[in-house]
């Protein structure tokens, strides 16, 4: 349980995390992969949080979804650099009993793109 804490402006305590991220976004290579890498992390996060919320171990989820436990461990540990396949995600979300939508494509500006996963 969290104790009652003194409220402060984070900038008064240190340099906010996003200050470094925004600085790095000036780098073309960093910017190019930003959406892809963060989508991968987001997918892993959603799967892990749903699994924990349902009280399932990786092994139990693997049995429900019909996928190897090692693949779930690799997904949650961000071992692979690729975004998981739709087939694999479909099995996982079926095993979790949860619908999810993945939306990708341009988002207005010429340089913008959208990548999102939403629970539905």
């Amino acid at each position: 349980m969290r104790r009652k804490m003194k409220v402060v402006d984070p900038a008064s305590v240190g340099l906010p995390l996003e200050a470094v991220v925004v600085g790095n976004l000036r780098d073309r290579e960093y910017r190019k992969d930003f959406v892809r890498v963060n989508l991968r992390i987001e997918i892993a996060s959603v799967v892990k949080r749903l699994r924990l919320a349902r009280g399932l171990t990786q092994k139990q989820l693997a049995a429900r979804a019909g996928v190897p436990q090692s693949q779930i461990a690799r997904l949650e540990g961000l071992v692979d650099e690729r975004i998981p396949s739709l087939d694999f995600l479909g099995r996982l979300f079926r095993g979790l009993g949860q619908r999810a939508a993945l939306r990708v494509g341009p988002a207005g500006g010429r340089k913008s793109s959208v990548c999102e996963i939403a629970l539905v």
Binding site: R2, R3, M5, K6, V7, V8, D9, P10, A11, V13, G14, L15, P16, L17, E18, A19, V20, V21, V22, N24, L25, R26, D27, E29, Y30, R31, D33, F34, V35, V37, N38, L39, I41, E42, A44, S45, V46, K48, R49, L50, L52, A53, L75, E76, G77, L78, A107, G108, G109, K111, S112, S113, V114, C115, E116, I117, A118, L119
Partner: protein, 146 residues
Amino acid sequence: MGEALDKYIHMVILSMPSHRGFRIVWFRAHDGGAGPVVKEYLRQVHQPKERLKIEGVLMRVEVDGLDAPGLRVEKIHGRGAVLYELKVTAFGSEHRFLAGLPGVCDPFGRPILVLLKYVKKKTMRLDCTDIETAAARLAQFGGSST
């Protein structure tokens, strides 16, 4: 997150509500500037792909807390302070941050987690001087975490 981000990237993440997240800040001395941890981190981590993953995981810690994917955590006791060793593996290298909770929160109620020291893995065990440095920096906030 800032104009630079808005300009190039439109990324909507509809996350589940979480009350486990932290507000992460990099330690900096009272005289301002970027701070020693950021300098050390940027000096040692050159590859944009490595930075992307490390910072992506840290951003998830702000939402998921210490359950964030790709993160391994160890609790360390040193010099009377409780520190957290946050470990992220990116492209074959292990990156470690020593972090602490100074016992304050942001206006949204998230505890502030301060990154006190960056260490690129060289050995299995952490160097005592790294722990001492992190503990001394945490002490500058007037206390230690629990």
